[in-house]
């Protein structure tokens, strides 16, 4: 190891981290100004919980955008498909199957289903259109809409009642006097585990190196003898699988309903813009920031206006503030 080597993490990266850290600090301070300690803990955890769900949708979108130059506007629908396919698997298992088994099968099945549909979409629909990026955006948008309508037609507009959670996750615990659902802590854990796993995949494996190289110059990667189309398919598939896993992870808490995809898609796009488009680190950190902002604004407006109305507005305001400070997003270049 050469210790004198300059870090990959250049001054720019450290500056981005600093700016992000200041935003987090600001949000925590706002929390302590407005709420009692017990509420602060719950709001911060709730922010993390929301942030992790945004991350699960946005992660795949941002890596796919970097590598394939496609903004996959169908990603929210994969989130929703994850919830519905998970519920279907949960319900289809024979009578007497323990809840824990059903739950794990639903998570695994939703992930596989999301990945399989994603791979089919990339190979069948996106691949013929790589020469025409604008068509691809329209295509993913149309696909998302079609999937939403299909689910609405098959399962009805009202959505499905949340499935029963495993007993161990169906409790609450107290932090600093506030109560927090164990299941939401489980979602935070899943999201964080995936955040770290994807980061390790990108930094430590050969596939990750090829992906990062492809984000910069996919033509050169091909000229080195790598079948970049296979990498495209694989990355798209991984992205949709993670989104579907996210949907199924959220579903026992949120239920499954046709509009959930659209709701999460919009926030995921905001997250990606705040993070700086194709930067993975940016997306991860922006997810948490957006979650914290949303949870804080939600609590403030509940406390003073008796309605959570500020939650959605707050992240738009947050985006504007970030873009004023950093026009390319927190970790975006040029």
């Amino acid at each position: 190891m050469n210790t004198s080597a300059p870090q990959l993490r250049t001054g720019f990266f450290r500056q981005s981290l600093l700016v992000s850290g200041l935003f987090v600090l600001g949000l925590v301070v706002v929390n302590f100004v407005f709420f009692k300690p017990g509420t602060v803990a719950v709001v911060l955890l709730s922010g993390l919980y929301q942030g992790m769900l945004f991350f699960l949708v946005a992660a795949g979108m941002s890596i796919v955008f970097g590598l394939l130059d496609v903004l996959n506007l169908a990603q929210g629908s994969f989130f929703m498909l994850g919830a519905y396919s998970g519920f279907a698997i949960y319900g289809a298992l024979p009578e007497g199957t323990p809840v824990e088994v059903r739950f794990v099968a639903a998570l695994a099945g939703a992930t596989l289903f999301g990945g399989a549909v994603g791979a089919a979409v990339e190979v069948g629909l996106l691949r013929p259109l790589y020469a025409r990026p604008v068509f691809q955006i329209v295509l993913t948008f149309g696909l998302g809409t079609a999937v939403n309508e299909l689910v609405r037609a098959l399962y009805g507009p009202a959505g499905l009642v949340p499935i029963q959670k495993p007993a161990a996750l169906n409790t609450t615990f107290s932090v600093l006097g506030g109560q927090f659902e164990m299941y939401r802590a489980f979602i935070i854990t899943v999201g964080f585990a995936l955040m770290v796993s994807i980061s390790l995949l990108l930094q430590r494996t050969r596939l990750g190196i090829v992906i990062r190289a492809g984000v910069q110059d996919s033509e050169m990667v091909q000229a080195l003898g790598i079948n970049i189309r296979r990498i495209f398919t694989l990355v798209f598939m991984l992205g949709t699988a993670v989104a579907a896993l996210g949907g199924m992870t959220a579903a026992p808490f949120l239920g499954a309903y046709p509009a959930m995809g659209g709701e999460f898609l919009i926030t995921a796009v905001i997250v990606i813009v705040i993070g700086g488009m194709s930067s993975y680190e940016g997306t991860a950190i922006a997810s948490v920031l957006v979650g914290l902002t949303r949870a804080t604004a939600e609590q403030i407006s509940l406390q003073y206006l008796n309605t959570p109305i500020m939650a959605s507005v707050s992240i738009l305001i947050f985006m504007v503030v970030v873009l004023l400070v950093r026009p390319t997003g927190l970790f975006g270049r040029e």
């Binding site: 250049t10 090829v210 990062r212 910069q216 050169m220 000229a223 080195l224 003898g225």
Partner: protein, 234 residues
């Protein structure tokens, strides 16, 4: 078939533009062939056409006994072709090590070739953990060539290796390329005629998308009229 690479009467379009209008190039094994010609003559496009990055509309390209025109770039590379583009295409966010790692075609390629690469470009050993984006122009050029050496390649296509480099570095680069030609064939695009004439055994002159003259470099050097006509100076 004695040539490693044979490009015959190739035509290439980029969009509506008819860039190559009949280029023929032969590269024998263990030799250096230089593509000469003015800016915009079609030298870079010839290399890109061989790699399949701008596939030919007409003509045939044979490499190691196989027809490669119409194949995908990665398939062509896997036959044993290494490509070093004029913009070097170093992956700036990746370390030198990772840049080389991307070029592996079989597991362990880099471990097998590392010593050889460090012998030719000793600087890269010191810079192994550095991000590609922080290397100087000359170091990036070395990395780009080194990257083409990681896999078992038999032919290197090198575009403008001396461009924008200091004379000392160019000297070093020339030595390295000459040394490589002991074991593999090189097709070189070079604006600097002095560099090209010292390196190459053979030449092909490209003019307005056509190959108009070819032969041994030693013969070209005797023909001042030809040099002046097609290459202007020197």
């Amino acid at each position: 078939m004695s040539s490693l690479l044979r490009v015959e009467a190739v035509h290439t379009f980029i969009g509506q533009l008819h860039i190559l209008q009949g280029v023929t190039v032969e590269v024998p094994a263990n030799s250096i062939t230089a593509l000469l010609g003015r800016n915009g003559a079609g030298k870079t496009t010839t290399l890109r056409t061989i790699m399949g990055l701008t596939p030919p509309a007409r003509g045939v390209i044979h490499c190691m006994g196989q027809a490669i025109h119409g194949r995908r770039p990665y398939e062509i590379a896997q036959l044993g072709l290494g490509y070093v583009p004029d913009y070097r295409a170093v992956f700036r966010q990746l370390t030198v090590e990772e840049n080389l790692k991307v070029a592996e075609r079989r597991k362990g390629d880099l471990d097998r070739k590392k010593q050889f690469i460090f012998e030719i470009f000793p600087d890269l050993e010191r810079l192994y953990k550095w991000p590609g984006g922080q290397l100087s122009g000359g170091q990036q050029q070395m990395l780009a060539i080194a990257r083409a050496l990681v896999a078992e390649n038999r032919l290197l296509l090198i575009d403008e290796p001396s461009e924008g480099l200091a004379p000392v570095i160019v000297e070093h680069m020339m030595k390295a390329i000459r040394r490589l030609s002991d074991q593999l064939a090189v097709l070189l695009v070079e604006q600097n005629f002095l560099v090209a004439s010292q390196l190459a055994d053979r030449y092909v002159i490209v003019e307005d998308g056509r190959s108009v003259h070819w032969g041994l470099m030693a013969d070209l050097l005797k023909d001042q009229a030809l040099i002046t006509k097609y290459l202007g100076a020197a």
